[in-house]
């Protein structure tokens, strides 16, 4: 499903040549895999995730998604691809605090063009699935960290994407909640057949996945 060839990303800096976050990286991820991307901080794993999730574009190399080169996609095309094919779970949840749990989950569906009724029904269903049926109407600020991350997962699943990207999804959670979130991701992968790509620096969590991709200094470490 995902094929990266000689992928590089350089951030321009004012004085020096520029910071090379990725240096000619090759990667292949098949449909239905549960992959963790590991490495020390600053190694480029978040940059890689952003590129894989169509949030960012590489400065060199090729990124083939289902055999289509998306490196040359416009901002608009990437936005559309994001809402259809990718779901994001963030370390800091990134929910809209002024909206309720259900409204947060509805948002991606509304951007996709679903109507209110359809979106509400689907959001309710997803929130029930993550065990928050009774907290649908609560504001995000009234939820605990674990609950917030579950809303985040529900939102990521809203448009039934093919891939789920999780950037340190348990970074802000205690061990009990972490285990629960990891269980949820594993279930999505095993039962739902979803491709899950998770960034983490915790080797214990990484060991729970099918495959570990280690990144070091912008390259895949063998």
């Amino acid at each position: 499903m995902i094929k990266c060839q000689n992928l590089s990303k350089t951030y321009p800096l004012k004085k020096s040549e520029g910071y090379r976050a990725l240096k000619g990286l090759d990667l292949k991820i098949e449909k239905g895999e549960f992959v963790s991307i590991c490495g020390p901080s600053g190694c480029g794993k978040s940059t890689l995730l952003n590129i894989l999730g169509f949030l960012d574009i590489p400065t060199g190399g090729k990124y083939l998604f289902k055999n289509t080169d998306v490196t040359s996609f416009s901002d608009n095309q990437r936005s559309v691809l994001r809402r259809q094919a990718a779901g994001f779970v963030f370390q800091s949840f990134n929910l809209l605090p002024r909206l309720s749990a259900q409204e947060n989950v509805k948002l991606p569906m509304l951007y996709l063009g679903k109507n209110q009724k359809e979106a509400s029904a689907k959001a309710a269903e997803l929130l029930e699935k993550v065990g928050l049926a009774d907290k649908r109407e609560n504001s995000i600020l009234e939820l605990s960290g674990g609950e917030r991350q579950r809303v985040g997962i529900a939102r990521a699943l809203a448009n039934e994407p093919e891939m789920l990207f999780a950037d340190e999804p348990t970074g802000n959670l205690d061990s009990v909640n972490s285990a629960e979130i990891m269980k949820m991701l594993a279930e999505l992968n095993k039962k739902g057949g979803m491709t899950v790509i998770m960034v983490t620096h915790d080797s214990k969590l990484a060991s729970l996945t099918d495959r570990i991709v280690k990144i070091k200094d912008g390259e895949v470490a063998v």
Partner: protein
Amino acid sequence: MNLAEIIRTALLEIKNHKMRSFLSFFAISIGVISIMYTLTLIYSMNYRLKKAVEVAGPGRLNIELKNRWEAQTDVERKQANDTLTYEDALSIRKIFPELYMVSPYFDKWVSFSDGYFREHIGVRGITTEWRKRGWVYKMRGRFINRYDIENNQRVCVVIEDGGWLKKPKWLKFWSFKDPFQNYIKHNELLGKTIKLGSSLYKVVGILKEPPGEKNPKTFIGIGMWEPKILAPISTAQRFLGGWSQSEGGIDGINVDTGREETISKYQRLIEQVIKARHGRTMLFSIKDYREIIKDQMADKHRDMMTVMIIGIIAILAGGIGIMNVSLATIYSRIKEIGIRRAIGATRWDIMRQFMIEAMMLGFFGGIAGVIVGFAGIEYLAMKGDTDMMMLRWWMALAAICAAVLTGFLASIYPARSAARLDPIDALRYE
């Protein structure tokens, strides 16, 4: 994302920042009020001009003597002794038979009496051509005819006030009642013989004006005073005892060439005829009627421009306010923009959201302005400002559109800035 959803988000934002929103509304609403005021004035002036021309005729020229008290030097005073005459009118008619109307007139102040009722009153001497323009009346009896004029008949026609269908509020404050109109309202004069000055006249016709709302003359405004009794010009000159400005002559001649295009041509030709008859010394003027009306409206025009400028400044200030608010909003919502982008919002989605928010700020300011503006203008109308009675609903609509447009224009830059944010940077922003 559909429009309803964007509007809902925008309303939420406006509600969450009440003070900021209120200040934007405030400036916008002042702009809207002045736009409404200006539009009402423009509309009123155009309406009056149109109606005045409609009543007076498209090719209207007024030939008048210059006022005597304007005469400064001895020469001018001597010239001022010469006056327009009924014969001038007759010869203009004879030389230019193609003119639609040549209507000489002559006003005299006399005492009117009928039984015990006495009142000082203006009488206008006219010819049969008087009825060719501005005829808005319902007639009972007959009008003055050629026989009356050629034979100096002592007959007259009385104009009866039309009243109002629904009396305007300002008239209730203004309690003046014309005793003459009051008298003829309660006493049938048609066929009766009355006394004008020292001689007796028969009332052969009553002209009833339409009600004030339907009378175009109501809205023409100043300079349109007309006497309420009409008599043959020949009779008035010969027999009517009383005071007049023009002594032996007549006050003026109203001409209608019939077509707007021929006004300037006849203005020149008639001037030559009168100069030939009076030896180039008489002080008189031939004025294009539209110019007269426009002169009368010059003051209003100046008022209008002042208000308009204030309005434009206010609405600009409102626009800058909205721009400022929108920019401030963006800085406080960078994270939100990043999140929305990450879950699939396009640049256009973000831009649209900010633009609609600003346009709604303009819209609400506009609504507030329209409410206050309507109340204010109605109040002025109630106080007797006839211009302000010309307020129309579409002016409110136009003012709101201007407010929304201001919001739109003010939002372009902030919305573009928001849309251009890099989603990754925005997501990282704390």
